[in-house]
Amino acid sequence: MLTLAHYLVLSAIIFSIGIAGVLIRRNLIVMFMSLELMLNAVNINLAAFSNYLQQMTGQIFIVFVMAVAAAEAAVGLALIISLFRNKQTINADEINTMRG
Amino acid sequence: MEHILSILIFFPLAAALFLLVFFRGGKSTMWAAFAASVVEFIFTIPLMTNFDKTNGGMQFVEQTWWIKSLGIQYYLGVDGITILMIFLTTLLTMIAILGSFTYIQKRQKEFYIAMLVLETGMVGTFLALDFFLFYIFWEAMLIPMYLIIGVWGGKRRIYAAVKFFLYTLAGSVLMLLAIIALYYVHGQVTGEFTFDILKITSQYAAYSKGFQMLIFVVLFIGFAIKVPMFPVHTWLPDAHVEAPTAGSVILAGVLLKMGTYGMLRFCLPMTPYATITMMPYVAALSVIAIIYGALVAMVQKDIKKLVAYSSVSHMGFVTLGIYALNQAGIEGGILQMFNHGIITGALFLLIGLIYERTHTREIADYGGIAASVPLYATIFLIFTMGSIGLPSMGAFIGEFLVLVGAFEAFSDWAILAAIGVIFSAVYMLWMFQRVLYQSLNKKWENLADMNLREVIYIFPLLVIVFWVGLYPETFTSYIHESVKQLVEHMATAAVAMK
């Protein structure tokens, strides 16, 4: 029997993988994917609690998160593409024009 | 006539949006912007003709709640003090836009949008009767002006723009503090929390003397920066020198008047005790500004800087008149605000149009150009003489009224201020001589004289200068009643003070 704890652990693991991915990897696409991973970890969390508490709010929220994620993906990928066009790279280390 | 004030405020903004969406720069944008400013100017005509000169209170009032829970209203009104300023604003914006057609070569669309947004800000500031609304317009004015200096300015435009912005921002932050303090104190006194300027004013007697003094000083510094008075005037020369012609015209013509307008609308009636106590000190500062401005103007090498410092001197007359706190002085101050707008605006336009041809503003680079541009020389001479305060032209009437008022209130300061009359002749004529007289600099032998467009935009200013000089009653009749009320208000306060 899967308890709430299992879901939460899974979600925590996925979230950690996401954070690690964002922090460690230098490729913007990969970082972006890691970001999605984190969002989905949150979604798992929401679904788990929704089920546990027998309330629909969490699941409704998931739909919102997915919508935001989709929008974010669209904008983010567009940004990455135009960045690549300008800089010929998607390596995060090389994109440091904001350095103080 | 119902919503004429709202129309006056928002028409330029709407026109700016229209420009933003439907135009792409170039000739058509210029003409569209000019047309919008002309329409805006035409709107002021029914305002002027329907204005009831026998009523000193607010007219064409529009009042509705905006954010009710905080006591913020959308509250507009016009009285004798502001109506001339509205006229001046719409007139000068129109002329400044026409005067920029050849001067502005890059990002034309954005420039005209900035001008129109600026106009909304300026008109709104003069018309707002709610502190919150006033503050919004006040700040809204700052941004387009900052852009106009910073984007279309000269070589040191960034420095000048930032300096202008920070100086004025410092002033408006002080003003904001005072506004909030007044809001709370008024709320505590009456139990009604409101930003209504008239209501806050009417409760002046309830504010303690110490509080009034504090508010007065804070507001005064805020407005003095805008005027600008000595010693917070140093942003003006830089801003003027770097700003494009239209920017200088609006800056000198309208923005400086915001400071003195603020004093008339807020400092005087809201904190009358403090005003009466501080009167002689402000007079002293004004006299310093008059003489200091004139002396520093005398030794400038850049024509625009010279005119900028002369503004410090002329605006000193305005503050001197206002703080004389009598009918002649305040009327003179208001009239002088108007005259200074017209004359200095014209001088900047004239300097701008010759700069377009020569690309220099150094006085030493000129010499004798009266020989190659006779029409220009004549018009320049007229406005030079106007600036000096020659009778039959506007500034004389203004200065005369100011001195009459000031002499009654503080004769010694008035005598010192009159010395400014000598120096203004010295620096203007010396500049005039070095630029237009003497032997012709060979470089400018084939300088083109003013063209039709340039004559057209100078012409209304020329007419008004003489009109004010020969029959000032056309203009002063608007301000008599409002000033009378203000003077009576101050007199009652003075009695209560004892």
Partner: protein, 640 residues
């Protein structure tokens, strides 16, 4: 009223037509318009004079309310009384003559139409000055004649000397106007009105006679202060010591201008003003003393400098300064009628002399140095004779104009007990006779000193000689017509009612004393002329050279105009420029205020320059910091 308005309208319309259409359309026809304008004024002035003198006609009316300052209302009003009508005659006559003269003199100049436009402006302004019925109108006219003077002195603006001179004239006048302004304010303060009728009200004056006024902590008599302020204006405009230095420089303008503005009309505005305010001045005893002092000093300074100058126009200019000193001195001793009378006669003969000098200049190719002239009497008979008449008139030989008015001034001064001023005045009369005839002998008598110039000399065209003849006739006649018998002539009866009769203050003089004084002044004039004859005809050039050598320092001092220009430069101009440039601008503005302002900017800049290193520009750094932060916060909140 209608004539008074028409007087103003003539030049106004001419000015507008010429000013707006002159450059494109009218061009060389400009004098027609201008002369038509001034002729209207001239005719109106004659009519007014006739009406005033025969029917006691007078006007004190308001055209419209001009300025409203609180309770003070200043009308745009017109006053015609005997004083005004005399001034109108002077102004319009000389103006008309100068207009006609200018057709010849300015012929072929590039700015022909411009010149006539300016002349119209001047005539208009001068008429406003004399026609106004209140102090503000006087001030308006006052400033506007200053403007026209500025424009006309700087007519040839491409010459640096002309550009300098016109600025100097305007600024010097402004210094005087500063005083005038204060005077105006005091008049408002005292009488709550600017109208002459309110201010010259004997009752009102009596009321404030003893009042004192505090300025900068010092107490002065109100009337003295007020009149002193007004007189400062007069000192500027009438070139009185110490503001006299602009007038000789003003000779940079075209000669007709010198005749019209800087000899006959504008510079006498100060005299007119003092005479107009006689009700105030005669009650202000301290100011009156000062007026006498200023007048006598100016008369002496002008004459002494005139002795040594070589430039024909400058000789005349200094003589103008000197004669203005006479007039001012006369107003100081209360001899207002004499002052106005002298103003009148002086306008005629000095206008004439200047126009003659213009004619000479024309013949001599714009050369003005009297040392290169000589023997012109054959070449230019009309100019010669008219100049001679002018010289005799100014020297004070009866029955020409100058005698009547000058003798009266001297007699009045003596009679009022100002013996020293009288002594100066008499001495100056001798000097005047000397240097005027010096110029006459050098220019017209003797042998030509520059044969080349002499050969090309010729009499001027009729447009120029007609005014000369006309003014010469005036110079001969006006004195005897208006001033005979002495102190009881037409002009005394005419002006007496408006100008406090001088003998109300002066001690009645014995008849024998008067005759003696008259004889003395004639003797002095004759002596001056004889000395000039001796120096410049009989013993020329030996005696003048010898004199110069003997009195070298004095001669140098006079030749350099007592070093007034240099003194003012040293005392005022340089210190003020230095103060403004070094102290006010460079030190205070740039180094104190702007430094402070920039410091406000520099502090955040410095903080930023340190803090900028935190911003690495790498997104991972930011995320890492954020994660650490979240962990720290979570840990913090869950442990507490």
């Amino acid at each position: 009223m209608i004539f008074a308005v028409l007087t103003l309208l003539g030049p106004l319309v001419a000015f507008l037509i010429n000013g707006l259409l002159g450059r494109r359309y009218i061009k060389n026809a400009a004098p027609v318009v201008a002369i038509a304008g001034v002729s209207v004024s001239f005719v109106c002035a004659l009519i007014l004079f006739y009406l005033v003198s025969t029917q006691g006609f007078s006007v004190d009316g308001t055209l419209y309310t001009w300025v409203i300052a609180g309770s003070l209302q200043v009308p745009f009003g017109i006053l015609v009384d005997p004083l005004t009508s005399i001034m109108l005659i002077v102004v319009t006559t000389i103006s008309l003559m100068v207009h006609i003269y200018s057709i010849g003199y300015m012929h072929g100049d590039k700015g022909f139409w411009r010149f006539f436009t300016y002349l119209s402006v001047f005539t208009l302004s001068m008429l406003i000055l004399v026609l106004g019925n209140n102090f503000l109108m006087l001030f308006v006219g006052w400033e506007l004649v200053g403007l026209s003077s500025y424009l006309l002195i700087g007519f040839w603006f491409f010459k640096k000397s002309a550009a300098d001179a016109c600025k100097k004239a305007f600024v010097m006048n402004r210094i005087g106007d500063f005083g005038f302004y204060i005077g105006l304010l005091l008049v408002i303060f005292t009488f709550r009105s600017l109208n002459y009728s309110d201010a010259f009200n004997a009752e009102a004056i009596h009321h404030v006679k003893e009042t004192t006024y505090t300025v900068f902590g010092m107490n002065f008599s109100l009337l003295d202060l007020m009149t002193f302020g007004l007189f400062c204006g007069a000192m500027g405009k009438s070139a009185q010591f110490p503001l006299h230095t602009w007038l000789p420089d003003a000779m940079e303008g075209p000669t007709p201008v010198s005749a019209l503005i800087h000899a006959a009309t504008m510079v006498t505005a100060g005299v007119y003003m003092v005479a107009r305010c006689n009700a105030l001045f005669s009650e202000a005893h301290m100011t009156s003393q000062f007026v006498i002092f200023a007048g006598a000093t100016t008369a002496f300074l002008g004459a002494s400098i005139g002795l040594t100058q070589y430039d024909l126009k400058r000789i005349l200019a200094y003589s103008t300064v000197s004669q203005l000193g006479y007039m001012i001195m006369a107003t100081g001793v209360g001899a207002y009628v004499a002052a106005i009378f002298h103003l009148f006669t002086h306008a005629m003969f000095k206008g004439l002399l200047f126009l003659c000098s213009g004619s000479v200049m024309h013949a001599m190719h714009d050369n003005l140095d009297v040392r290169v002239m000589g023997g012109l009497k054959k070449k230019m008979p009309i100019t010669h004779w008219t100049y001679l008449i002018g010289c005799i008139a100014i020297a004070g030989i009866p029955p020409l104009a100058g005698f009547w008015s000058k003798d009266e001034i001297l007699a009045m001064t003596y009679g009022s007990g100002h013996t020293f001023a009288w002594l100066v005045g008499t001495g100056v009369a001798g000097m005047t006779a000397f240097y005027m005839f010096r110029s006459y002998f050098l220019v017209f008598q003797g042998t030509p000193r520059d044969q080349h110039l002499h050969d090309h000399a010729h009499e001027s065209p009729i447009a120029m000689t007609f005014p000369l003849v006309f003014l010469a006739i005036c110079s001969v006649l006006v004195g005897i017509v208006f001033g005979y018998p002495l102190e009881d002539g037409f002009i005394h009866h005419f002006l007496g009612p408006v100008l406090t009769p001088a003998h109300a203050h002066a001690h009645e003089m014995a008849h024998s004393t008067a005759t003696a004084l008259m004889a003395l002044s004639i003797a002095i004039a004759v002596a001056g002329i004889s000395v000039a004859y001796l120096f410049y005809v009989k013993m020329y050039p030996v005696l003048p050279e010898k004199t110069v050598k003997t009195f070298k320092p004095v001669h140098k001092l006079l030749l350099n105009k007592w070093y007034f220009d240099e003194l003012y430069d040293f005392l005022f101009v340089h210190p003020i420029v230095m103060l403004s440039s070094v102290v006010f601008w460079r030190a205070i503005d740039v180094n104190v205020i702007d430094f402070t302002v920039n410091a406000f900017g520099r502090v955040p800049m410095w903080i930023g320059s340190v803090a900028r290193h935190i911003q690495t520009g790498r997104i991972q750094t930011y995320i890492f910091t954020m994660v650490v932060g979240v962990i720290v916060l979570v840990a913090f909140f869950y442990t507490v």
